[in-house]
Amino acid sequence: MTTTLEAPTAPMQGDWPTLRIAHLYPSLLNVAGDGGNLMAIQQRCAWRGIPTLAVSIDAGDRPDFSTFDIVLFHGGQDVEMEIVAADLGLKAPSLREAADQGVVIFAVCAGLQLLGARYVPSDGPPMEGAAVLDLETRGGPQRFMQHAAVDVTIDGRRGTIVGFENHSGQTELGPDAQPLGMMIAGAGNNGRDGTEGAVRGHVYATYLHGPVLPKNPWLADQLIRIALERRLGRPVELEPLDDSVEQHAHDVALQKALRNRGQRTALEPARLVRDKAPQTVG
């Protein structure tokens, strides 16, 4: 376990505890800008004077996840997923324990798939997941690759999250998992039932890949607020920030998603992609 990122320096504002963030497999799971989620949490904390400490958790490490406030579990390509899946068994009991204790876990794409019971690729052996979420994923015949928008309610606050989905895995939720939200535009979990992502307690998972938090600042703030409330054992109100840049990025992405609504893919994939659709990206 190695400490890689110090919190950006910020004026101390009294009594905020240091938010401890576990960044899972940072070198394996960073298929496209996934580190943006960590940047969003750390910067939005720094701008409010909330100290953070990010800790890289690599293959072979066996941390006690319940000592963290937020766990980030990002996307990867098939090869990286296999390496992660082979290591995940070591970490799964502690991850489940942390989830039961209310630690905030945020997962995107491959992270979503590997928080489930298992992932069965189209070709290749099944991978065991961490069984934190009651869901299962199978490799599908088509790749969902497009701008997407989701109607999400978290802890009483309703909003839209926007981003780009790029996956061929099709996920079915079991009875103990709720969808994170319902699709406004895009394919979501399986392209059929309109569900997107999964949630259980403070575990949130989405197929919107890569840097999803920077242009959905309200979601980033919900994660920060919930993590602080759990740590402090009392309600927390976060100081509002000027989010005009973020909101503009959100609104442009939402327009793109809405424009693509009804189409299976937002753009024609390159020939290479059609010939040999890889299993999972993001």
Partner: protein
């Protein structure tokens, strides 16, 4: 048929040497036109592909082959998809579809490689490197590598294969190739880069263990070996053994080759330039092209359009830096840093068919390194929104940012804030680079991009 396609297509030529239009028209008239104009007439072709460095490597290669006395055709405008390459062949042929016997040096988009190798039957194929680039267009990096390997396996023994030994996933391509195989790379006793979050293949291509680097030269390229299975960087046939980057205007290096050593000075900047020149020398050796005039030839090759191109804009100056993925962004920023990181910036990104739709990769660019120096940045392009958000989280104060989506208006806005004698640094994706450069051409600051 080839003649008819060529004749029709020639009528649409002349609108601009960089367009794909003639090739598109010609292929409609005759889908086999490219094979008829090239492979069927035994025209020697050099195919240059990979994620980064295609254009510059192809320019160096064309210069070396020309210097050895062979006439060359070259898609120097960078139209590297099937239509653009067909345009080049159509432009070279006469109206009866006869192609003059010149060497075609062609850069080829990674996705177009399998089809174009089939139609062109090249005499040499070179793979520069393989970086994550536009997941939404190409898919995973491993799928691209698999496609490259399939191409390499299909090459005849009369085709030379040149690969980058420093790039772990590229180094082993076509290992069983029956023809000549030439590797190139750097062989320095010090690091010229460090592993960043833009690095892709830092795991062993055979056993997937984490690779160990004795030296890191550029992103995931370096002197690598696998501590687990023992796979290691192969012997480097064409090796840069000393390297000095001198600001934005010169890179000097010593190259060890099987046919003798060379001292090279190129009027371009960066470690990547040494890779591109070594690649071009590897192709020459693969083809058996003599290198007597190599140093003199390379010394004349300035930057391709937008590759840190210096432009005089009235009483102000512009450095135009084309950047399309995290590695090319970071490489460009590093080259700029040799003269001090830019303070006045215009940064542009647009979603188009060639630039891709998903700009998640912007979060892998090391803007953090550049942010503290930024005094003013104009953010432009169809994805100015995402770019502005990225810059904000990199630490650029939004008060220093102006969003002007329209490219010509952004150029005006950016230049308006610059004192006479000052420099504006432009970092832009492919389409915004073309658009901004076209605007500069209209203002008389540069010639057409296909003539650079």
């Amino acid at each position: 048929m080839a003649g008819k396609g060529a004749a029709v297509a020639s009528r649409v030529l002349g609108r601009g040497g960089g367009t794909s239009l003639p090739g598109m028209v010609a292929r409609r008239v005759d889908p086999t036109i490219l094979a008829s104009l090239v492979a069927a007439q035994n025209i020697p072709v050099v195919a240059v592909t990979g994620s980064n460095g295609k254009t510059t490597t192809a320019r160096f290669t064309a210069a070396l082959i020309r210097a050895a006395g062979y006439p060359v055709d070259h898609n120097r405008a960078g139209a590297n998809l099937v239509q653009g390459v067909t345009s080049l062949a159509v432009g070279a042929a006469d109206l009866r579809g006869r192609t003059p016997r010149r060497v075609m040096v062609i850069e080829i988009d990674e996705g177009a490689l399998p089809l174009l190798v089939e139609e062109l039957k090249p005499s040499a194929v070179l793979v520069t490197d393989l970086f994550r680039d536009q997941l939404d267009r190409y898919g995973e990096i491993y799928a691209v590598a698999d496609a490259f390997e399939a191409v390499a396996r299909g090459l005849g023994s009369d085709c030379a294969l040149c690969v980058n030994a420093d790039d772990p996933i590229v180094a082993g391509l076509g290992a069983g190739h029956a023809g000549r195989r030439v590797t190139f790379g750097l062989d320095l006793d010090h690091d010229t880069d460090r592993i960043t979050r833009a690095a892709d293949t830092i795991r062993c291509p055979r056993c997937r263990a984490d690779l160990v680097y004795d030296h890191v030269y550029l992103s995931h390229m370096g002197a690598w070996h696998c501590p687990s299975c023992g796979l290691a960087r192969p012997a480097v046939d064409v090796a840069v053994t000393a390297l000095e980057v001198d600001g934005l205007d010169a890179t000097r290096f010593h190259v060890r080759t099987p046919v003798g050593d060379l001292d090279i000075s190129v009027p371009q900047s960066g470690v990547h330039i040494a890779y591109d020149a070594a690649a071009a020398i590897a192709i020459s050796i693969g083809l058996g092209v003599p290198l007597e005039h190599a140093a003199a030839a390379l010394a004349t090759v300035g930057p391709a359009f937008g590759r840190l191109e210096r432009i005089v804009a009235g009483d102000r100056r512009i450095v135009l830096g084309f950047a399309k993925n995290p590695t090319s962004f970071n490489t460009t920023l590093r080259a700029l840093a040799t003269e001090g990181l830019p303070r006045q910036l215009l940064v542009a990104a647009s979603n188009t068919l060639v630039d891709g739709e998903d700009f998640a990769w912007l979060w892998d660019v090391d803007f953090e390194a550049a942010a503290p120096n930024v005094e003013r940045v104009t953010v432009s392009g169809l994805r100015a929104d995402e770019l502005a958000n990225r810059l904000k989280y990199a630490g650029v104060d939004p008060a220093r940012m102006t969003v002007v989506r329209d490219r010509p208006a952004a150029l005006d806005a950016a230049l308006a804030g610059i004192e006479p004698g000052g420099t504006l640094t432009v970092l832009a994706g492919y389409t915004p680079t073309i658009e901004l450069r076209e605007e500069m051409r209209k203002r008389g600051w540069v010639g057409p991009y296909w003539e650079v």
